[in-house]
Symmetry: C2
Subunit: 314 residues, 2 copies
């Protein structure tokens, strides 16, 4: 068996390739030259947006967009446009979540957070700029020839990202930290934690998986399968993240750890304990794999991705 | 002459009608019930988004969208969707601009700013939520039957709002206050001030005027005319705003005044002096009127709007 036939090696290679392509496309799109309809791109905002979106990250969401799209023969260049739009949303959310008024983080991907590298005002604006830019990118001709498909992507991305998705999830998360409570920490039950996480981190991961089906004009059944996969993957991702926060080494993880415990924040890991959490993680990987059964070996790479999510150390 | 034949009264009536319709539509769209694809809409984020977008404002941008759209027979209900999307962007920008790290304002439209009424984290998220929601709204079926038109609206709105438009303008504005300078206040010349303002406030006003042409599938010449009108209107709006900041009464204006002078910020008013600024304002109103000449009396309401912008006291 050659090295390239090793599934994990193939996965790594494809993940790295998407990361490189994503990096190159963001670099290309976030150039100093203004697009049609823009006045000019001021240096400082451009630099801050580039700082927040380039030079780091596994680009796991872009990977999902590209590989789920490949199931439906979405041309890679088109899938990468959607992938970049999604990554812009993800990166903006990190910038805003790191702000002093939010999670107050100094370190992200092993580098100073945007408001440390620049300043708070610039970080707020860079986040706003990245979120706005995401919708510019997704609606462009290069993303898809059919405007109806792009409309669907805009709405799906907005709902995954907005008050009923990621932004709403971050709001619930701050509430779960007791930020707005008058009588101490609210006690979330399992269902409430799951909802919070399905919104805060799950919604974008689900979008990543479903976007390929939208772009590939997949059948309703195929789209539902990708949605089930994305849902299981999102839950697995969050449990793995919470385990890393509990047990990980900041140097490896690339950001501060132990924050949930310090904030006495309820997570599924704090509720289940690490052992039951790991068992649940295994179940979810199985769910993710089963959701893709009808696609056969074409979906192997996405199945490996589910394992990667559950076992990642960073 | 009956009261209803007085042009100013007609303008006021139509402005108020658009304001009422905009208010009602935002109220309807920002309801607790989640849209398809959303998990749930957490109470606190919904309340903050409603606080920031309802119950205030002249709704001048929505008025422009509706009245420019009427020139091209855009159904009012469709124009109002675009108007609401634009107003969400405008309201988000006010919430973020008012933040302590940005302009640090306590008062907006005579009420506490969002971060005072709620808290900073909630205000940041409410702004993010409104910006995201704008793109959800503009891409919906109710906005236009033709997906290609909605795509064009998405891109135009994103570019007017983003790094090459409003967000970039706010970045330049902070720089003009000497926020990032090491050697004192940068001295902007007339062209640089005009560019800053064309981005910070001009871009959204231009979008408001051009959106009607996009929605109405107007000819290139018609669209260019609305663009010229919107450009002149935006410049007039900003000079009037700077005059109000210099000479206005906070109780009438509904926000703190005297901030430009306190920050030693260069504006066209500080450069020209109030008298030359008022003369320039008059010229711009003339430019705005002339841009609409080919539309005849159908565009009278937009011509009156240009006078309103120049002469407003709040």
């Amino acid at each position: 068996m050659t090295k390239s036939a090793d599934p994990d090696a193939i996965f790594r290679q494809r993940l790295d390739q998407v990361a490189a392509d994503t990096e190159a496309l963001i670099d290309h799109l976030l150039a100093p030259t203004p697009a049609e309809g823009e006045c000019l791109r001021p240096t400082r905002i451009l630099e801050a947006m580039r700082y927040a979106s380039l030079g780091g990250g596994k680009r796991f969401r872009p990977f999902l967009v590209v590989e789920a799209g490949a199931l439906f023969r979405v041309p890679r260049a088109q899938a990468l446009m959607t992938a970049v739009a999604l990554e812009c949303v993800h990166c903006y959310s990190l910038v805003h979540d790191d702000l002093p008024a939010m999670d107050d983080d100094a370190l992200r991907r092993g580098r100073p957070t945007a408001h440390k590298a620049f300043d708070e005002a610039t970080a707020i604006l860079a986040g706003d700029g990245l979120l706005t830019f995401a919708f510019d990118v997704v609606a462009r001709p290069e993303t898809h020839p059919d405007p109806a498909v792009k409309n669907e992507l805009v709405i799906a991305l907005a709902r995954a990202s907005g008050l009923g998705g990621m932004v709403g999830g971050q709001m619930l998360d701050l509430a779960a930290e007791g930020r707005f409570a008058t009588g101490g920490l609210p006690r979330l039950d399992e269902h409430e934690i799951a909802t919070l996480q399905a919104m805060k981190t799950g919604a974008l991961l689900r979008f990543a998986c479903v976007a390929g089906a939208i772009q590939g004009k997949a059948s309703a059944a195929e789209r539902a399968a990708l949605d089930r996969y994305g849902t299981a993957l999102g839950q697995a991702f969050q449990i793995a993240d919470d385990l890393l926060d509990l047990e990980g080494d900041p140097a490896t993880v690339g950001k501060e750890t132990g924050k949930d415990a310090a904030a006495h924040k309820a997570t599924l890991v704090s509720l289940y304990g690490p052992d039951k959490a790991r068992a649940r993680l295994k179940e979810l990987v199985g769910d993710a794999e089963r959701a893709l059964a009808s696609f056969g070996p074409a979906a192997d790479i996405l199945k490996i991705a589910a394992h990667f999510v559950a076992e990642r150390q960073a």
